[in-house]
C-alpha cells in the first residue's frame, strides 16, 4: 500500500513538472518539441511492451501508429465537412486505440507464432506491405502527398478550440500520463508477468499451461492499441500525415529510442524518447551525418551495453543501496574515462563532418564550421588536428578505462561480500 502511495505521489510530481514546462520554455520551438516528445513517449513505451516486456522485436510497429493517424485525420475531415457526427477532439486517441487494436489483433494473430528473428522478419514484411499500399490505395492514403486536416472542428467546450499549440500540448500531456500509467500497471498484472515469462522461457510457460502464442498475441494487440493512441495524437499535433508515418524509417526510429534508452527497464524507453527526440530536432539541422551517428550509437549500445542507458544506471543500484561511499569513489575514474573518450569522439566527429562536407556540400569551398569553429576541409592542418585528437583519446582511454573497470570490479566485489555476509 505504501508503495502504491509513493508511486502515486511521484506521478503527481511528474505531471506538475510537465505541466509547468511550457511556462519555463516559452519559444514555439520548445513547445513543438515538447509535443513531439509526448507523442513519442507513448509510442516508445507501447513499443517496449513488445520488445522489452514480451521479447518480440518488431520492424513494423509504425503500421498501427500510422494507420491510426490516417483514420483520425479522415474522421476529423468528416466532422469538418459534416458528413460524420461530432466527436469530441479530446477523445480522439480512443479512435486511434481502436484502429490500432483492430489491425494489431489481425496482424498479430498471423505473426506471433514464434518470437525472435522469424517474428522480426515477418513484421518487416507487413510494414513493407502497408507502405506499398499507401502508394496504391490513393483514395485513402493520397500517395506521397499524404492527407491534411484542420483540427478546429465542431463546438468549443469551455472555449477550448485546440487551435493554439499550447492546448494540444496539454491534451498530449494528459493522454501521455494516462496511457503510460496504464502501461505501467499492465506490467504489474499477472498478464504482464506472463509476458515476461513467455519472453524468458517459452517452453516452461507452455508447460504451466499457458498458450504462449495467445499471450504474445494479446501483448501484441495491446501494444498496437497504445501505438494507435499515439498515432492519433501525432495526427492532431501536425494536422497532416504522410506515408512515411507507417514506414520502416518510423519503425526503426522507435526501435532506436526504446533500445538506446533501455528496453529492460520501464523508464528506459521514456529516457530514449526524450533524449533522441531532442537530439533529432537539434542536431538534424546542424549535421548531415546525424543518421550515421545514430546508427553508430545504436550498434555500440548493442555491443557494449545491451541494457541501454537505463541499464547502465540500474547497474549501480546495488552499490548505492549497500555502500554509497563506493559510489562517490566511482565518480573520479568515470569522469576521466568519459573525458578521454570524448576527446576521441570530437576528433572522429571532425573527420566525419569534413568528409561529408567535401562529398556533399562543398562547391569548391573549403570552409566548414565544426563545433562553432571554422576549419578548412581542404587544408592539411585541420585533418592533423582531428586525427591527433582521435589518437590522443585512444591513448588516454587505454589508461583510464582499465582504471575505471578496476574500481568498478572492486566496488562490486565489496557489495557482493556485504550481501553474502548479511
Amino acid at each position: 500500500m505504501r508503495n502504491i502511495f509513493k508511486s502515486f505521489t511521484l506521478w503527481i510530481i511528474v505531471a506538475i513538472i510537465a505541466a509547468a514546462l511550457p511556462l519555463l520554455f516559452e519559444s514555439s520551438f520548445a513547445l513543438t518539441l515538447l509535443c513531439k516528445m509526448g507523442v513519442l513517449i507513448i509510442f516508445t513505451v507501447a513499443y517496449n511492451m513488445l520488445l522489452g516486456q514480451g521479447g518480440m522485436l518488431s520492424f513494423g510497429h509504425a503500421i498501427y501508429f500510422g494507420l491510426a493517424g490516417y483514420a483520425s485525420i479522415h474522421i476529423l475531415n468528416g466532422i469538418g465537412e459534416e458528413t460524420l457526427p461530432y466527436f469530441p477532439t479530446v477523445l480522439f486517441p480512443l479512435i486511434g486505440a481502436i484502429v490500432g487494436l483492430f489491425f494489431g489483433s489481425i496482424i498479430g494473430y498471423v505473426s506471433t507464432r514464434r518470437a525472435g528473428t522469424a517474428f522480426a522478419m515477418i513484421s518487416l514484411g507487413f510494414c513493407e506491405m502497408v507502405t506499398a499500399m499507401t502508394l496504391i490505395f490513393v483514395i485513402f492514403f493520397n500517395g506521397e502527398d499524404g492527407i491534411q486536416t484542420d483540427r478546429m472542428v465542431g463546438p468549443e467546450p469551455f472555449g477550448v478550440t485546440f487551435g493554439p499549440q499550447i492546448e494540444i500540448y496539454y491534451l498530449i500531456l494528459f493522454w501521455c500520463l494516462v496511457t503510460v500509467a496504464m502501461m505501467y500497471i499492465i506490467t504489474k498484472t499477472p498478464f504482464g508477468r506472463m509476458c515476461n515469462a513467455v519472453r524468458d522461457n517459452p517452453e516452461r510457460a507452455a508447460f504451466i499451461g499457458y498458450s504462449v502464442r495467445r499471450v504474445r498475441w494479446q501483448a501484441f494487440a495491446l501494444s498496437s492499441m497504445f501505438a494507435g493512441a499515439a498515432g492519433s495524437l501525432h495526427a492532431l499535433n501536425y494536422e497532416q500525415i504522410g506515408f512515411e508515418a507507417v514506414g520502416v524509417a518510423q519503425s526503426g526510429a522507435v526501435l532506436f529510442m526504446a533500445f538506446i534508452g533501455g528496453a529492460g527497464h520501464f523508464l528506459g524507453p521514456i529516457i530514449g524518447a526524450i533524449g533522441l527526440t531532442y537530439l533529432d530536432s537539434t542536431l538534424a539541422d546542424l549535421t548531415e551525418a546525424w543518421l550515421l551517428y545514430l546508427g553508430l550509437i545504436f550498434s555500440l549500445i548493442v555491443m557494449f551495453a545491451p541494457g541501454g542507458i537505463a541499464g547502465l544506471i540500474v547497474m549501480h543500484g546495488p552499490i548505492a543501496k549497500t555502500n554509497s561511499k563506493l559510489l562517490t569513489g566511482l565518480i573520479k575514474p568515470y569522469l576521466s574515462a568519459i573525458g578521454s573518450i570524448i576527446i576521441g569522439i570530437i576528433g572522429f566527429i571532425g573527420i566525419i563532418e569534413m568528409l561529408y562536407f567535401r562529398s556533399l556540400i562543398s562547391k569548391g569551398e573549403g570552409e566548414v564550421i565544426i563545433f562553432w569553429t571554422e576549419f578548412n576541409a581542404n587544408g592539411i592542418i585541420s585533418w592533423i588536428i582531428f586525427i591527433g585528437l582521435i589518437l590522443l583519446g585512444f591513448v588516454l582511454s587505454k589508461k583510464t578505462f582499465p582504471k575505471a573497470k578496476e574500481v568498478w570490479d572492486h566496488a562490486i566485489s565489496v557489495v557482493k561480500a556485504e550481501i553474502t555476509h548479511e
Binding site: G55, L57, F59, V110, S111, R113, R114, G116, T117, A118, A120, M121, I122, L124, G125, F126, C127, E128, M129, A132, M133, L135, I136, F137, V138, I139, V248, G252, L255, F259, A289, L291, L292, L294, G295, L296, F298, S299, V302, M303, P306, I352, L355, Y356, S359, L360
Partner: protein, 315 residues
C-alpha cells in the same frame, strides 16, 4: 505465347538475382541463426565497389575483386562485432546488423553522394544476343543468368557433396562435436558469413548496372529477401531457390497484366454500380498492386503453411 515466354524469362532473371541474394542470407541464417539485416547493404556495396573498380580497370576484374572485398568486410564484421554480440542471443545480433544497415547506407552517401552513380552495363556485352519473335535478349542479361545458375550449382554441390560442405552442415547442428573433432568452429562461421556476404556482393555487381546503383537500393530489396526466406522455409537452400523464382515470376508477370476486377466482371457481361469512392478499388489493375504481391504471398504462406515451402520447422 511469346509474351508468356518473355515474362517467364524476365521473371527467371529477377528470380535468380533474388536467389543469389537470399542464398547467402539463408546460408548464414540456417547455419548460425544470425539474421543479417544488413545483407542487402552488402549487395549495395557490391554494386558501388564494382562501379568504382570498373571505372579504373574494367568490368571483368571488378566481377572478381568486388565480391572478394565484400567477403573480407563480412568476415571482419563477423569476427569483431557479431561474435561479441553472440552471447546476448540472436535478437541482439539482428539488432546489431540493423544498426550496421544504417551505418553502411550513410557511409555510401558520404562517399558516393545521394544521387545514383553511372554504373553501366559493360560495352562488350551491351548488344542483343538473339531475338525471338520481336523480343531482343541482351547478352548481359544472359550472362547474368548463366552466372547465377553456375553459382547455384556450385553452392549446392559444395554443400552436399564435399567434405567442406559436410563440416559446415555438421557445425550447424552439432557445433560442440565438430569442434571436439578438431575443427575451428568460429572460423567456419566467419568463413560462411564472408561467403554469404560475397554472394550478396556478387549479386550487386551483376544487378547494380541494370537496377541502378543508389543509396536506397538496399532498402528496396532487403525486405523482399526476407520474404523469400520465410516463404522458402527457414534455412532451406532449395526453398530459397523455388521461392525466389516464384516471387520473380509473380512480380514480372503481375506488372504486364493490365487486368482489374472490374474488367473481369465486364467480360462476363455484368456492370457494377458502386459509389465512385469504392470504384477505385475494383478498378485497380494487377500491375498496380504488383509491389504488394510478395508480401501477400508471405501472409498467405503464414496462414496456410507456416513452415514455408521446404522448411522443417514452423515460423
Amino acid at each position: 505465347m511469346d509474351v508468356i515466354f518473355f515474362t517467364l524469362f524476365n521473371g527467371l532473371m529477377y528470380g535468380m538475382l533474388l536467389f543469389m541474394l537470399s542464398s547467402g542470407l539463408t546460408l548464414i541464417f540456417g547455419m548460425m541463426g544470425v539474421l543479417n539485416f544488413a545483407h542487402a547493404s552488402f549487395f549495395m556495396l557490391g554494386a558501388y565497389f564494382a562501379y568504382q573498380i570498373s571505372k579504373y580497370i574494367g568490368f571483368i576484374p571488378a566481377l572478381f575483386i568486388a565480391p572478394l572485398i565484400i567477403a573480407f568486410c563480412g568476415a571482419m564484421v563477423e569476427k569483431y562485432a557479431l561474435r561479441r554480440v553472440h552471447k546476448f542471443g540472436h535478437v541482439a545480433e539482428l539488432l546489431f546488423t540493423f544498426g550496421l544497415f544504417y551505418i553502411i547506407e550513410e557511409l555510401v552517401q558520404m562517399i558516393w553522394g545521394k544521387v545514383p552513380v553511372g554504373y553501366h552495363v559493360p560495352e562488350f556485352m551491351d548488344f542483343t544476343l538473339f531475338s525471338m519473335s520481336g523480343m531482343g535478349y541482351q547478352a548481359y542479361a544472359i550472362f547474368t543468368l548463366l552466372v547465377s545458375i553456375a553459382i547455384f550449382l556450385a553452392l549446392f554441390s559444395v554443400l552436399t557433396k564435399t567434405r567442406v560442405g559436410l563440416i559446415i552442415q555438421a557445425a550447424l547442428t552439432h557445433p560442440e562435436i565438430v569442434s571436439s573433432l578438431g575443427h575451428n568452429v568460429p572460423k567456419v562461421f566467419m568463413l560462411v558469413f564472408g561467403l554469404g556476404c560475397a554472394l550478396a556482393g556478387l549479386a550487386g555487381v551483376l544487378a547494380g548496372n541494370t537496377l541502378g546503383t543508389e543509396p536506397s537500393m538496399a532498402l528496396s530489396l532487403g525486405p523482399i529477401v526476407f520474404v523469400v526466406i520465410v516463404v522458402g522455409g527457414l534455412g532451406s537452400l532449395k526453398g530459397a531457390l523455388v521461392a525466389s523464382i516464384l516471387i520473380g515470376v509473380l512480380q514480372t508477370a503481375a506488372i504486364s497484366l493490365d487486368v482489374s476486377i472490374n474488367s473481369f466482371i465486364e467480360t462476363i457481361g455484368l456492370t457494377v454500380n458502386i459509389e465512385s469512392l469504392w470504384h477505385i478499388l475494383i478498378d485497380l489493375t494487377i500491375s498496380q498492386v504488383a509491389p504488394i504481391l510478395p508480401y501477400l504471398l508471405l501472409v498467405v504462406m503464414l496462414i496456410i503453411r507456416p513452415r514455408g515451402l521446404f522448411g522443417n520447422r514452423d515460423v
